[in-house]
Structures are given as C-alpha cells and as structure tokens.
Symmetry: C2
Subunit: 143 residues, 2 copies
DNA sequence: CCGAATTCCTAGTAAGATGGTGGGGATTGC
DNA sequence: GCAATCCCCACCATCTTACTAGGAATTCGG
C-alpha cells in the first residue's frame, strides 16, 4: 500500500515539466539533475509516460520532453496509474469469496476516497501550491 | 498501491472470527476452510495478529483463536497495518526533495483519505453489513 | 553530408518482497 | 499417556523493484 519510487519519480518529473511553463523541450539530463533521479531510470519512465500520451518528445541536438497537454489537464492519478499500474485496493471481483462478502463494498469506498485526492489534483494545482510556498518562504527570509 | 493477498487473508480471518460471536476458540483449520485460505500460511498470519494483540489463542485439544477484544474495537486499518506493515502513501520526510515541494502535503491528504475508510470501519460494521446483505438475499430467494 | 547531441529500444541483473510449504516442538484436555 | 492443537523456525520458488549497459535511430548546426 504505497506508491513506488518509480511513481514518485514520475510525479516529480512531470512536476518539473509543469513548473517551467515553456514550449521548448526539456532534456532528460536536466530533469534528472533538477529532481535528483537516476538518469537511465528516468529515461524509461519518461518513455512510458510518452507512450501513455501524457508527454511528447523531440530527438536530436535540441531535443527533450514536454507536456503533451496543459498541466491543468494532467492529474496525479493519471501518472500513477500509468507507471505503477492499477490504483485499486484489491483485484476486482475476487473469485473465491462468498457472494455476500462485505469486503468488495469496502474496496469500492477505499478506491473512491483515493480517487478524490489523486484524480482531483492536477499538476497546475501542484505548481500553484509550490509557488505559494515559495513566496511565503522568500517573505520570511526577507524579514 | 494495493493490499497484499496476505492482508486480505488476515481481514477475512478476523471477519470469520467476528461473525461467529462466540467465546470458544475457533481452530485454524476451520477458518482456513471457511475462508479458503492455505492453512499453513494462515497459521503465520494468525500468529502475527496475536503478536499484535488483536487475537488470543489456546492450545491443545479444544484450542483455537479468538478475538482479544470486541469486534467493534478492531478496525480494518489495525489489521492491515499489522500484517502489511505501514499504510502510508510515501515514506515520510523523503530526504532528497527540495524544501518547498508540494508533494508531502498531498501524501498527507491521501493518507487522511485512506484513514477515513480503514480506521473507521470496524469488524462489527462489516458483520452488520454482511447480515443485511444476507437477509436481503434470503428475502429475494423466498419470493 | 558530417558529427555531435539527444531520444529510443532491448536486455540484463542484484536484492528484496511475496506467497507459500515442511518438520517438529510445546501445551492442553481427556 | 495420547491425540489434538497451536507455536516456531527454516526453507523455497517466483515475481517485483530499482536500476544499469549498450547501442540504434533521429535531429540539427554546420
């Protein structure tokens, strides 16, 4: 019941792409350094995210990765489901259980509770919160 | 991000103990059969739950396991945390992140959302729902 | 067209988690 | 004493996780 390291890396990478709201592609090496992620591992993850349709890329000298759509249309849930596989509490119908088991209903509730967080948090939200945090820190620092 | 098979077994075992609200201990073999769980594996799980203080046991001819406290004072979260280890979304302070990362806050929210389900669902609740389901099924069956 | 920079693709791999199994010792009730 | 049960420890096969290696394909500046 936890998000894998790979999942965290994926989130951080997409966050990095979101916070620099630029159209030019960002190189793997830069993302890796900025977010402290092993570069070759990140390569795999970004490829997966591209395959899922969340990122685009360009090769060659000035290549790199970019968001395939605006940051307010990509959610944390999207990314986690893409790299960590499902986001369910339990495999759906679970064969060997009796017909009136109370558990499937609970798994449903769990899943809805999770979804309320991950599917409602976009990367635009995260960037917004990050900017606020930073502003407050700078303010404190000046006093 | 899913509950292990071991976790599910543990829940089903405690549910089995809860639904027969009897003081006499229930044998491992019976629980294993009723809930379709490999017996030797279940032995391990029950030992772990006893160690965690949720179950008690008695050896010998008439031995078995029983709830260490009433079913309305054992939650799903208790059991899952005991057998699956932590129930956190991410390891807490995550060293290599910048100070104003927006993620820790999100993990907090996720954890609270999870907790709202698993720490508020007691085995008494589960038994209650199971009884209602069964009653409804019997009713339909009679029509 | 050359060559440097970059993404893309296919493997491989070491360590740990998962989902068990087996054998026998310790208690208990009769 | 004896049978039934829990208790404990070790083992094992398979899968997942978190990477790493090496090179092919593409792009761009010249």
């Amino acid at each position: 019941m936890d998000v894998s390291v790979k999942g965290e890396y994926a989130l951080r990478a997409v966050f990095e792409l979101s916070r620099r709201e630029r159209p030019e592609p960002l190189k793997i090496a830069l993302i890796a350094e900025a977010q402290n992620i092993p570069q070759k591992f990140l390569e795999m993850i970004l490829a997966q995210l591209k395959h899922g349709g969340f990122l685009g890329s360009r090769r060659g000298s000035d290549g790199g990765y970019f968001l395939a759509r605006p940051a307010d249309q990509i959610t944390v849930g999207d990314i986690l489901r893409q790299v960590d596989g499902s986001f369910q509490a339990s495999k759906r119908p679970f064969e060997d259980e009796p017909p009136d088991s109370p558990f499937p209903e609970m798994w449903d509730r769990l899943e809805r509770a999770l979804s309320c967080v991950v599917d409602r948090t976009t990367f635009a939200d995260l960037v917004e919160r990050w900017k606020q945090k930073r502003a407050r820190r700078v303010l404190n620092w000046q006093i």
